[in-house]
Amino acid sequence: MSAKPKLAFFSFASCEGCQLQVINCEDELVALLGAVEIVNFREAIDERRDDYDIAFVEGSITRPEDEHEVKEIRERAKILVAFGACATIGGINAIKNFQPQEKVSQYVYGDQAATFPSYPARPVHDLVKVDLKLHGCPISKSEFLEACKCLLAGKQFTVPNYPVCVTCKLAENVCLYQKGMTCLGVVTRAGCDPMCPTFGNKCIGCRGLIDHPNVNAAFDVLEDLGLTLEEVTKDFTMFDGCHKEITEKK
């Protein structure tokens, strides 16, 4: 890698909100641009070059033409980072995976549906090798910066493999279950500096499941609290629809 590594950002099926999070790193942008060169970033710059070292890929893969493009990015990039929930776990886009695809296409594109072929949303790692996953809807700015530092220094970046509960305890939050609410934090990967629970909202699982989640226990607990199986499944398929632990439950 040259002295100043070249970064590029790409997006597939997504809202580009994760790219916006990069621009939101206002206090650190100058230092970041001192350490890297950004050569492709539709959200922020006009320049578009293909000589990148690290590619941040946002969005899920849901159209045939995406496949070719993401494979090309993989070939060019030394390091490919799946960037945000859509890219790492399929995310919100995977809600459509549980509905008839024709119906979904017609709902969005009406009588033009045939012009826009699409299929169930898939995370990027279903198609190409992913070197690092930065989870979240949107990604966490601090995690993005930490990952950048590690990538630049050639140091391993460790994605948390513990649930949101850990960070809630570190923040000394009152557990939402103690307040009579429900929360997916018990099986959801941490790293969000638990923004939702800290401000009184339940975790909706945007960072995906931890490795080896006890999904059965989560379904049991939520059903014990009066939720129907359908409601629990709905909670989990908002973001986690591509996890086999959830699809098996469906």
Binding site: E28, C165, C168, V174, Q178, V187, H212
Partner: protein, 347 residues
């Protein structure tokens, strides 16, 4: 040293006076539920009136002032000749309102962090902290099992110990440092009727606590030893999320992880320590991908063994003070009293 009496109406002024010289931390309201339920935390105060000495239990114990949930251990730079500078918390601190169970926990942590490797960061904080205890006449709530663990009475580990005797606190002075603190309060000598009120408190206290585990906890190390292969662990493990909450709120858990954090210049950074949990998937993972406790049930069993057997064997007292924070914070409703009861009954 003879005890003193501090009128409750003069307590806030005492704490405020202390806050002029020390960082004063004590129980405060964190949140009030719609139904009126209150949740408390230890936090810093400058105005003693913010202290809620009627609290039952806090989310985290005062341990967080000795072993913070997160702390910076050192700052380093690798430019030229690599340099590292230790970061030490040298604030003088007074912990107000610690209950006996949390004082016991501090005793244990002192042993842990001063045995073999002396932990400079822990000890720096601990040596600069004074503890004003607050005795309790009844368990915090139905989750507490401090009486089973023998931690509802403490004889030492505090500088002052306050007992609620109605309109006033009966203040026992355990150390000279405690006496110096109390000099900042408007106190009076304890008279016969104050001693009598304190005696009445102790009698109420005796009637207020009940044992909940059917077996004497002194037998728990042997009972656990025999239970190693019990199916009870498997059964409870099925419900466990391995979320780590039990460890993270525990006043005696002391495991931590250390990571280096780079600055964006990539040549300087900090070394950070964060508390860790043996319930987490990666806790016992080592290079090569092996994990020594891959199953949730074995991690859960390990925690109970630590609490009631291993730490007892290493330090002479149980690693559990019966505060019940683990159980209150368990989404799966795994309960210590039930677990010990089932283990004892399944032999």
């Amino acid at each position: 040293m003879l005890p003193k009496v501090l009128e409750k109406s003069k307590f806030a002024a005492f704490a405020t006076a202390l806050a002029g010289e020390y960082q004063v931390v004590g129980p405060q309201l964190k949140e009030q539920s719609k139904a009126g339920g209150e949740t408390f935390v230890f936090g810093p105060v400058t105005d003693g009136a913010a202290l809620r000495m009627d609290y039952n239990i806090t989310l985290l114990s005062p341990k967080k002032y000795f072993l913070p949930m997160r702390e910076t251990l050192l700052k380093y730079t690798t430019v030229g000749h690599p340099k590292a500078e230790a970061v030490m918390d040298t604030r003088q601190r007074v912990i107000v309102g610690a209950h006996p169970c949390d004082i016991y926990a501090t005793w244990l942590l002192d042993k842990v962090f001063s045995t073999d490797h002396k932990d400079p960061n822990y000890l720096s904080r601990r040596e600069r902290a004074l503890i004003i205890g607050l005795d309790c006449a009844k368990p915090c709530d139905e989750t507490s099992f401090c009486h089973d663990m023998g931690t509802n009475y403490v004889e030492s580990g505090f500088d002052l110990m306050m007992t609620d005797i109605g309109e006033a606190y009966f203040v026992e002075i355990a150390t000279e440092a405690g006496q110096a603190l109390l000099a900042k309060a408007e106190t009076r000598e304890a008279h016969n009727e104050d001693f009598a009120k304190r005696q009445a408190f102790m009698e109420r206290k005796q009637g207020g606590f009940h044992k909940r585990i059917p077996v004497d906890t002194k037998y728990l190390p042997e009972i656990l030893e025999e239970s190693y292969d019990s199916l009870v662990w498997e059964a409870i493990g099925r419900r466990c999320f391995s979320c780590g909450s039990c460890n993270l709120v525990c006043p005696t858990c002391y495991c931590f992880d250390i990571t280096d954090k780079l600055n964006l210049d990539l040549t300087s950074g900090t070394r950070e320590r964060t508390v860790d949990s043996c319930q987490l998937d990666n806790f016992a993972s080592v290079a090569g991908g092996e994990s020594f406790r891959e199953q949730r049930s074995s991690r859960l069993r390990h925690r109970f063994f630590r609490k009631a057997k291993y730490i007892q064997e290493a330090f002479g007292r149980k690693g559990c003070v019966g505060c019940g924070r683990c159980d209150r914070n368990c989404v799966a409703k795994i309960n210590s009293v039930e677990t010990y009861t089932q283990i004892a009954g399944s032999r």
